[in-house]
């Protein structure tokens, strides 16, 4: 079983080496390095490959207009292994879900209600998954709001049979989540144990294998 974390965003090469070392110790065997510059993303992916971890590059596109987002997706898809869209409006969320070039839709906790039946159907049509980033849970005094958002997204995605992908969004090794803790968090939200395990291993691997070929 290969555990994946498809969102690592180291800010320097030193951070990348530290994260790679700890990720290997935690049991991760597949990661995706996020960076707006494709060359830097490839450079930061090297420490992971040296540590024996399969590493891919990814970019996060943030937009509230589908026209602009589409242009950015066209430009980014040949340069990166995975393209992730962080929608700022319902229009972008719906269109991005159907686009075959988009690997993941990163719904922020505030947009949890967009994860409905139609969104799940569109995600299945496009073969994309819903990304659940655990980074916001680590910051802020009151984690209730972000916890609630993450809980709604994960529960709905599991109920509508969409692919859930849990990622840490770690910028340094202190923000990395251990696979057991991430899985336990999903289970304590009410997601079935087998789906929680798939969110860390099966679903990310299928996303990587299908979307990389398309890219």
């Amino acid at each position: 079983m290969r555990i994946c974390d498809l969102h690592i965003a180291p800010r320097s090469l030193r951070d990348a080496y530290e994260v790679a070392d700890l990720a290997h110790r935690m049991g991760y065997r597949c990661v995706a390095v996020d960076n707006p510059d494709p060359q830097e993303a490839k450079e930061y992916a090297k420490p992971f490959i040296e540590a024996g971890i399969e590493a891919y590059t990814r970019v996060t596109i943030e937009s509230d207009n589908w026209g602009k987002a589409l242009k950015m997706i066209r430009r980014a898809s040949p340069r990166y292994d995975l393209v992730v869209v962080k929608p700022k409006s319902a229009e972008v969320a719906r269109h991005a879900a159907r686009d075959p070039r988009v690997a993941l839709i990163q719904l922020p906790p505030g947009m949890a209600r967009y994860m409905d039946k139609s969104q799940a159907r569109l995600l299945r049509e496009g073969g994309a998954g819903v990304e659940i980033v655990l980074l916001p849970l680590l910051y802020g005094d009151d984690p209730r709001r972000s916890l609630r958002g993450v809980m709604i997204i994960s529960r709905r995605a599991a109920a509508y049979e969409s692919m859930i992908i849990v990622t840490s969004g770690a910028r340094s090794r202190w923000e990395l989540w251990s696979p057991a803790a991430a899985r336990a968090l999903l289970v304590s939200f009410g997601v079935p144990e087998n789906i929680a395990l798939l969110a860390l291993s099966g679903y990310p691997l299928s996303i990587v294998s299908s979307k990389r070929l398309q890219g």
Partner: protein, 180 residues
């Protein structure tokens, strides 16, 4: 004259006999009524007694059920031992008190004080040299404890991450899973 006298005597005798009979019947009826009232009283007392007996029996049954329920609860409270190690900043590993405090505070933050109370969370083993230990909780709060371990980023004021290695039903196996 004699015939008339005899007839009136006969009528008198008959009337006396009827009156006597009526008196006897009334007396018997009263006695019968008294006996019925007595019987009713006995029956009422019996019913009351039966009610008390029935209530006592119900209580006994309930207490048996409660005992069964409690024994089931006792039997279902299974313990889990979570082996973990800590990645910490600096050269000095965190103390056991700091580790336990950090874990309990994280569980409180994630699941509330009820989870801490129901979980019976306790640090049962800790080796400061390896910065590894074993924490005990109940089987139904296992996932909350594991998730709480994930949100810990500071132990004793220093940056640290707690990494769960294995969950086991015995402390012996949990200790075996710890990294050397």
């Amino acid at each position: 004259m004699d015939a008339q006298y005899l007839l009136s005597l006969l009528v008198l005798l008959i009337a006396t006999a009827v009156g006597l009979y009526a008196y006897l019947v009334t007396k018997r009826m009263k006695l019968f009524e008294k006996r019925i009232a007595l019987l009713e009283g006995v029956v009422e007392r019996l019913v009351k007694h039966d009610k008390v007996v029935a209530r006592a029996a119900l209580h006994a049954l309930r207490s048996i059920r409660a005992e069964d329920f409690l024994s089931k609860l006792r039997a279902k409270r299974r313990r889990r031992y979570i082996a973990f190690y800590i990645v910490y900043e600096g050269n000095e590993p965190p103390s056991p008190q700091e580790v336990e405090k950090a874990i309990i505070r994280a569980i409180e933050r994630l699941g509330g004080q009820l989870s801490v109370a129901l979980g019976g969370v306790q640090l049962v083993y800790y080796d400061p040299e390896r910065a590894a230990g074993v924490i005990r909780c109940t089987h139904d709060t296992k996932y909350v404890v594991l998730a709480a371990m994930g949100i810990i980023r500071k132990v004793g004021g220093k940056r640290a991450i707690i990494i769960p290695v294995r969950t086991s039903g015995t402390i012996k196996r949990a200790k075996k899973a710890l990294p050397s």
